[in-house]
Amino acid sequence: MNPELLLPAALLAGFFGSTHCIGMCGAIVVLFEQQKSAGMRRWLRRILYNSGRLGFYVLLGAIAGSASAVIVATAGARTTLLILRLIAGILVIAIGLNLIFNWNFTRFIENAGARIWQRLAPLARHVLPVETPARALGAGFLWGALPCGLVYSAVAMAATSGSAVNGSLVMLSFWAGTLPALIFAGATAARLQRWKSMPAFRRMAGGIMIVLGLSAMGPFRQLIH
């Protein structure tokens, strides 16, 4: 429904998101690359990992989006869409506050995600070592499933998007936000990270998201005469 709110918000969340993207996920890139590369070029491999990751995100986004579509269909469009919009607004504000205060409100979802991950982790032996393009894609897919509060907040946004397509788009723009940090590795990424974790930038991004969230609540004034 309201892509004009969710898409930029997801992009910002992905970009400024977590200060430890590099710390946590960067290790995976390094790990993958320590292994025999079997002739694949470095950039091809990196694109493949990240495409795999995108695949998983889009899958999550589509599921979350269609869940909201089902609710809209059963509960009547007008009110439900408005409620979803309100929740989306609150969510975006919360993520904005999260950026400013470094305050992790998705911790309890992370714990649930950790349990799901434990089921998926054994699949790793099918994709490691990363020797073929297919394995690289699979490894990326699995990478997407790692428990991560940031991803869950994006999924939550997707769940307010009202349709599977919109949900997927939300996740796509979230992925695009995370890409710069994860496609580069080493010094470039670290420099980028330092710049992003400057309080001024985080506050600015948080502020933008809070404004976005508040503006999403605007239409309610039409309801109250």
Binding site: T19, H20, M24, V30, I83, I90, A114, L146, I224
Partner: protein
């Protein structure tokens, strides 16, 4: 300067507070900052790639001495023990921050749990700062066992080194701020919806939209309930568990009840909703608590300022040079180099050199003080000029700086009778509130069933005795903080109470009215065959080194090279010292004491207001030392202002009559006693108390400990290094008497403010109850009234911070007061 908690083993980021995750890697539990990192780390380990961690670049070599939850045994290591625990003989003492403590019921819970442990000597918990000072026998109980026991009860113990206090404070501040922001943001929305709904009621509203607005209000209230109101629920639950319901129980019942009823009404699309009242109640109550917390932190500022003084490192002198060492690594007898601009990191003795130091944060005095060879310096003193080498005598938790911090902590934990009474009243009040609410609900059910719930809700909210419970502790915290800035540490708040009830103030002349830094003015040979005067002075000094009497400090510090080894030392309190050097038995002290064993000795008349000390061997009196001890600079002014305030003043001194009479005359004090032994002084205090007088004893806190303890309240002046042993109710750290006047004035202000607060709280509760019971108050008015009354009490107590002492050392207290305000 603060140490960060152990970083996440995987990503190197600091582990956030409240997270306790570990991944098992290569047989060791490594700390993790989030489940994501844990997942990756375990994934890496499971893939057999653990070598990754050895080969990667070290993310951050930041090492940390602070173990995390669940690893208590690390705290038994010497480094950490030295940092957090102060040990005297077998008794250990530590200040511990208690995460998860919300109310006085928790204090009870904590106390009970600890008393069951072996070797616990003392537990004093300050519910305001959520800290406990625990003393225990270290032979019976290890520090780690203590911490583990606290964790088992459900608190999160964090031992406080002086420099960690600020961290805990900041964390509390951030949490409270978040709760307040959420309550405010969500609360505003809910209230906007409520306005729309009220308008709709008046002008008509489409049913669908009304329902929609009600659902939205419900959704927005959820974060208020789950996040902002959590401390209230947690505190209420603990109260129930400890079977001692606190004031948060009615608060929680009101919030919870209103929410459940409103949710049901929203679901059924029928009946009143109170989301706006909930939002407002939580918002304003959180705001009052937030302000109260700020007040507490401000009272704490002095202690924090003390803690932040110390540098991280010190310059240690080793063979052939200097090395920079972390403070934690310093040991007793290390030698440090001290330069201008340094803050002295430890307690120590000056081995060589001469420095001028500013001890204003320790003593409240802004004048810098000269310290030279043989004198001691204290951690936290700032060096203005000069260089020195200093031998370490005390480090870490044993320095007088740390002792002052603990004293402040203990002072804030002390609950005077009036506070305990208010607490008990508040507790009965809670029961009464619940009873009144139930009765109101039942009565209204018969009068007008539709309004029963609303009226009961209003009653429950409006009668909560929050203001009553806050009235005294808030004022005492503010007063203690204000006085600490002036260099006057209140250890037991009874002293504030006694000072307002026109007691007799008894001064122990030596060291209290006078400078307390006597010097040997002349050394006179009394026997022609005696060694030369300067040699006699050396002998005297060597013997006096064994005594801690103020007069003993008049003698120069003994040079180690003189090789005067003492045997058979006997210190006779109030009289003198007997000791043997080589084959000669000496006695030094009062004339009567020295002459005790001499037959043919004619007592000489004393020489004016000075005090004489005599040195004798087994057969003859050898020398007389004249010791001068001038009146303190502000003694005259202090006595005058005390007299103006209608205090009766008395001198009870161990010195001889002429000296005491002279000082009494100069200060215009009519009542004085001289030649008193400590036993005499004790008897004097007992007699006065039997006559129904209140007695405040002002002494130096060291050799008059029993007398101080016998008085109704006691003040130790200039206790210096022996702070730890001072048994007084209050300690004046500075060298000025004026602090006493400040204390008297602040005590009067405090009493006034406590009375105002109690009167206001009682009036409010007594008028609000009938209004609420008779159904005149809507729940939102009740919410507003109740939170406003708490706020007023806190703000009133805060006025004590600005309270200016009219007289007494305007320059010193003026300066420190400004410093306090700007910080």
């Amino acid at each position: 300067m603060t140490l960060v908690a152990a970083p996440c083993f995987h990503c190197g980021e600091p582990v956030p507070a409240g997270i306790s995750l570990f991944a098992r890697l290569g047989g060791e539990d490594q700390p993790m900052c989030c489940v994501g990192c844990k997942a990756v780390a375990e994934f890496i380990a499971a893939s057999g790639l653990s070598a990754f961690y050895e080969h990667r670049d070290n993310p951050d070599p930041q090492f940390d001495l602070t173990p995390r939850m669940g690893q208590w045994h690390h705290y038994d290591a010497d480094d950490l023990l030295n940092r957090y625990v102060h040990v005297t003989d077998d008794l250990a003492e530590a200040t511990i921050d208690l995460g998860g403590m919300y109310c006085t019921a928790c204090v009870w819970l904590f106390d009970n749990a600890l008393q069951k442990l072996p070797g616990i000597k003392s537990v004093s918990v300050n519910p305001a700062t959520k800290r406990a000072v625990v003393g225990w026998d270290r032979n019976l109980l290890a520090f780690s066992e203590l911490l583990a026991a606290i964790a088992r009860v459900g608190f999160k113990p964090a031992p406080l080194a002086a420099d960690r206090a600020a961290d805990a404070r900041d964390a509390e501040y951030r949490h409270a701020l978040k709760r307040l922001i959420v309550a405010a943001a969500a609360g505003m929305q809910v209230m906007m919806f409520a306005v729309a709904l009220y308008a709709g009621e008046m002008f008509g509203i489409e049913g669908g939209i009304e329902r929609f607005l009600r659902i939205i209000s419900l959704l927005v209230t959820v974060p208020i309930i789950l996040f902002s109101a959590r401390p209230f629920f947690a505190s209420a639950w603990r109260g129930i568990r400890a079977r001692s319901p606190g004031m948060d129980l009615p608060v929680s019942l009101a919030i919870g009840g209103a929410f459940v009823a409103s949710t049901y009404a929203t679901w059924a699309n029928n009946g009143d909703i109170y989301f706006d009242s909930i939002a407002m109640f939580v918002l304003f109550l959180s705001a009052a608590r937030f302000l109260e917390m700020r007040a507490r932190h401000r009272s704490d500022d002095h202690a924090v300022a003390l803690a932040e003084l110390l540098p991280d490192t010190a310059l240690r002198i080793v063979d052939g040079g200097h090395e920079i060492v972390a403070l934690d690594r310093l040991r007793k007898d290390d030698v440090l180099s001290i330069r201008p601009g340094d803050v002295i990191p430890v307690d120590g003795d000056i081995l060589s050199g001469k420095i001028s130091v500013d001890e204003s944060l320790l003593t409240g005095e802004s004048m810098s003080i000269q310290r030279s060879m043989g004198e001691s310096v204290h951690a936290g003193a700032m060096v203005h000029t000069g260089n020195a080498t200093v031998r370490v005598t005390q480090t870490g938790a044993s320095t007088s700086l740390a002792e002052i911090g603990r004293m402040l902590e203990r002072a804030q934990a002390d609950r005077p009778p009036v506070a305990i009474l208010a607490d008990r009243i508040a507790r009965h009040f809670v029961t009464a509130v619940l009873a009144i609410t139930t009765m109101t609900a039942i009565t209204w059910y018969y009068i007008e069933p539709g309004r029963a719930f609303e009226t009961a809700l209003a009653t429950l909210v409006v009668t909560c005795p929050c203001a009553l419970a806050l009235a005294t502790p808030a004022a005492l915290a503010a007063a203690t903080g204000r006085l600490a800035r002036a260099g006057f540490l209140v250890v037991r708040s009874r002293v504030l109470d006694v000072l307002t009830r026109s007691p007799i103030i008894i001064f122990d002349k030596t060291g209290t009215l006078t400078e307390g830094r006597p010097r040997v003015l002349t050394a006179t040979r009394l026997l022609d065959t005696a060694p030369p005067a300067n040699q006699l002075l050396d002998t005297a000094a060597a013997i006096e080194a064994a005594s801690e009497h103020v007069l003993a400090r008049a003698f120069p510090i003994q040079d180690q090279s003189k090789n005067n080894t003492l045997d058979e030392v006997e210190v006779v309190p109030g009289s003198g010292v007997a000791a043997t050097i080589g084959d000669t038995a000496y006695r030094i002290g009062k004339q009567a004491f020295v002459a005790e064993q001499l037959d043919a000795y004619e007592m000489q008349s004393p020489s004016g207001h000075r005090t004489d000390v005599y040195l004798a061997d087994a057969t003859n009196v050898l020398a007389r030392f004249e010791i001068g001890d001038e009146l303190r600079a502000d003694a005259q002014r202090t006595i005058e202002s005390l007299r103006e305030k209608k205090f009766r003043i008395m001198i009870a001194s161990g010195d001889h009559e002429a000296a005491v009479a002279k000082i009494a005359a100069r200060l215009g004090i009519a009542q004085w006693r001289a030649n008193l032994t400590p036993q005499d002084k004790l008897a004097l205090v007992h007699t006065l108390r039997e006559q129904g007088e209140l007695v405040v004893m002002v002494g130096d806190g060291i050799n008059d400990a029993p007398v101080l303890a016998a008085a109704d309240a006691s003040v130790a002046l200039d206790a210096g290094t022996a702070l730890a042993r001072a048994s007084a109710d209050a300690v004046s750290l500075g060298r000025q008497l004026g602090a006493l006047v400040t204390a008297v004035e602040i005590a009067a202000d405090t009493r006034r403010i406590i009375r105002q607060n109690l009167a206001w709280a009682l009036c409010y509760n007594l008028t609000a109850v009938p209004l609420a019971v008779s159904g005149l108050l809507a729940p939102w008015m009740a919410a507003l009234g109740m939170s406003a009354s708490s706020l007023i009490v806190v703000l009133n107590a805060l006025r004590l911070h600005r309270s200016k002492s009219a007289r007494a050392a305007p320059e010193a207290s003026g300066e420190t007061a400004t410093a306090g305000v700007t910080s």
